[in-house]
């Protein structure tokens, strides 16, 4: 057993497609590490996943991994239409990297997953799959969207079952990390949130990471799957969405007036990461994708 030389160990990152988000994440989603995105439904988790799968195909000089991606989805149906929409805008803004008849969607391998055991089975088959892909465009990104859906129904609320469930978390995480290390992959996992009911004490008040409490849509929430899963990921990002009422100054024909408009405020927070400070930024979701907003 020989130690690795740290000077040769560069941590490669995959760009998210937005320079503001990349700046926040110090380059993008890191390789050889599991990054988790936690948010309630409709916050943009799948958007980031699709966007990342496309941008991973960019050459390394432009922040990508020059790689194809494996997209494991647990919630049905897979958003094919949105992927095509994003693909079109991706192609138009990065036309010089791809030949004319090329379809970046060809390099996203989609697989549906039904249960946690199914996921373990798929992962044991992933090894040879990634090995073979080295001949064409190697797979360097694995997306699991979402991990929570696999565990929400199969397990009762007894201590024995919960123990079995957390044992599965560590097994899955350990296999993902071994894959990530072996092939230098970036792994992106999405997770759902659960509402926190009751006073902010006991297990409800357990603070994990930089934020005292996660808020979205005016509710207090916490990531699903609990403390055990939190120990299995390397970094955690939180997407929040809130409806804000803001004053907007409007120029109208009879002079200035102001309107009160309801605006969707979306923010990305770094909950914990070994290489990132506590930061956050605002973002918006447009037809072209998910982009950070600098105010």
């Amino acid at each position: 057993m020989t130690p690795q030389s740290l000077l040769q160990l560069t941590s490669q990152k995959c760009t998210t497609g937005c320079p503001i988000l990349d700046r926040l994440l110090y380059g993008g989603i890191p390789c050889d590490s599991i990054t988790e995105i936690v948010a309630e439904s409709g916050s943009g988790k799948t958007q980031i996943c699709l966007q990342l799968s496309l941008h991973a195909q960019l050459p390394v000089s432009h922040g990508g991994l020059a790689a194809s991606s494996l997209y494991l989805h647990t919630e049905f149906p897979f958003p094919f239409r949105r992927l095509h929409q994003l693909c079109l805008s991706f192609r138009s803004s990065n036309a010089h990297h791809f030949p004319v008849n090329d379809n970046p969607c060809d390099r996203i391998f989609v697989q549906s997953v039904h249960t946690a055991d199914h996921l373990l089975e798929i992962m044991s088959k992933t090894d040879p799959f990634i090995e073979n892909s080295k001949n064409q465009v190697p797979v360097r990104l694995i997306v699991i969207d979402s991990i929570a859906a696999l565990f929400r129904s199969d397990f009762d609320n007894t201590p024995v079952e919960l123990k079995r469930r957390s044992s599965l978390f560590f097994k899955i995480s350990s296999k993902l990390k071994a894959l990530a290390k072996r092939f230098n992959l970036a792994v992106l996992v999405t997770n759902q949130v659960v509402d926190l009911v009751g006073p902010n004490e006991g297990i409800n008040g357990l603070r994990i990471g930089n934020l005292v409490c996660l808020h979205t849509s005016g509710r207090r929430v916490c990531p699903a799957l609990g403390l055990a899963w939190a120990n299995c990921v390397n970094s955690r990002l939180f997407l929040s969405r809130n409806e804000e009422v803001i004053r907007e100054e409007n120029e109208k024909s009879n002079g200035q007036s102001c309107d009160f408009v309801k605006k969707k405020m979306r923010k990305l927070y770094v909950v914990f990461a070994p290489h990132l400070p506590e930061t956050s930024c605002e973002f918006e979701i447009t037809r072209e994708g998910l982009f950070g907003v600098e105010r």
Partner: protein
């Protein structure tokens, strides 16, 4: 070595043997005046005999220790050893204070906390700080970093190494104005080179590596700290037989303790937190169970208190139970900003 081999005169030897002193150990606890009385010789002669005896025993300590068992030390000698041991600073003066100077060498320290509290940051800080040269109060040693989770980010270690070198230059500038030649020649790259990084992907690899460390450390005697981040991860799956897990873990802990004592280095084990279900309520506890909690010498728990990170000495044979605030900054672990009443130098 026996009496008959001592370079003393035959008559003295005869007197010693007839008085019953046949081995060197029997001469170790007697004073020269008592010996003179027993052998019926002058006190100066007796003192000579004792001097020769202690010299030939080749004792390193000035007060000849009476060792009944091979390798045993008297408590007095151990106290001397302990006082001369160096500590590894954590770069936070408050944290160093409750730790009695820093992370102790020759001991196994377990540090546990929730995700995001700064365990990996502390591990990297310790791996960098062990390399602080002797001139600046450090050990000037190298580090072994065993990464089981993949949390180690090289760029972060580089950042922390850079900040450490900057702090040393500041210290230099303020206090050693006359030593112009004491410029810091260390570069962050040198610091990274002195961290031996191992990445582990299963518990069998973990055990194999810890068994291998014996050989590694005999080849690299300047390693002064072993950081395992985290010791828990691979043991929380796949173990249906808990008794087997306990046995494997205690075997591992024993080996680490042995390494710590033999090579005079510090062992830092980072642990995760789990919930312990007691009847209706729950409690946070460090992972790996109750039997593991007995195996480490010191135990530090990191937790959130309001908006601050705190460290609490949960178990230690020599330190008082105390807690201190610290913070994780871009430069690494530092004192918490609210406790800065005056500017403190390193």
């Amino acid at each position: 070595m026996e009496i008959w081999r001592l370079p003393i005169s035959a008559s003295q030897r005869g007197k010693l043997i007839s008085a019953g002193y046949t081995s060197l150990s029997s001469l170790s606890s007697i004073s020269s005046s008592d010996l003179a009385r027993e052998l019926k010789v002058s006190e100066s002669e007796a003192m000579n005999i004792l001097k020769v005896a202690s010299h030939s025993r080749g004792s390193e300590t000035s007060n000849a220790s009476c060792s009944i068992v091979e390798g045993a030390q008297s408590a007095w000698d151990m106290l001397h050893d302990e006082e001369s041991l160096m500590h590894i600073t954590t770069s936070s003066a408050d944290l160093d204070n409750i730790l009695g100077g820093g992370i102790h060498c020759k001991e196994v320290t377990e540090i546990g906390g929730v995700p995001g509290i700064g365990k990996t940051q502390l591990g990297i800080q310790v791996a960098v700080n062990v390399q602080i040269p002797n001139d600046f109060g450090g050990l000037g040693g190298k580090a072994i970093y065993i990464d089981t989770e993949g949390s180690f980010m090289v760029e972060r270690a580089f950042q922390i190494a850079e900040a450490c070198i900057e702090d040393m230059s500041e210290y230099n500038r303020f206090l050693r104005k006359d030593f112009q030649e004491c410029k810091i020649k260390m570069l962050p790259q040198d610091i990274l080179e002195n961290i031996f990084y191992f990445r582990i992907c299963s518990y069998t690899e973990q055990i194999a590596l810890i068994n291998y460390l014996d050989k590694f450390l005999s080849e690299h005697k300047d390693v002064k700290v072993i950081v395992v981040d985290s010791v828990t991860f691979h043991f929380r799956q796949d173990f249906d037989d808990m008794a087997l897990r306990t046995r494997v873990l205690s075997g591992m802990a024993l080996k680490l303790m042995n390494l710590a004592k033999r090579f005079s280095l510090a062992v830092v084990l980072l642990n995760q937190v789990t919930t312990k279900h007691t009847e209706a309520s729950f409690q946070l506890a460090l992972a790996l169970g109750d039997s593991w909690s007995h195996t480490c010498t010191n135990r530090i728990v990191l937790y959130w208190n309001g908006n601050e990170r705190y460290a609490y000495i949960d178990k230690s044979p020599s330190l008082r139970s105390a807690s201190a605030a610290y913070s994780v900054t871009a430069r690494g672990i530092r004192n918490s900003s609210s406790s800065c009443k005056r500017i403190k130098m390193m």
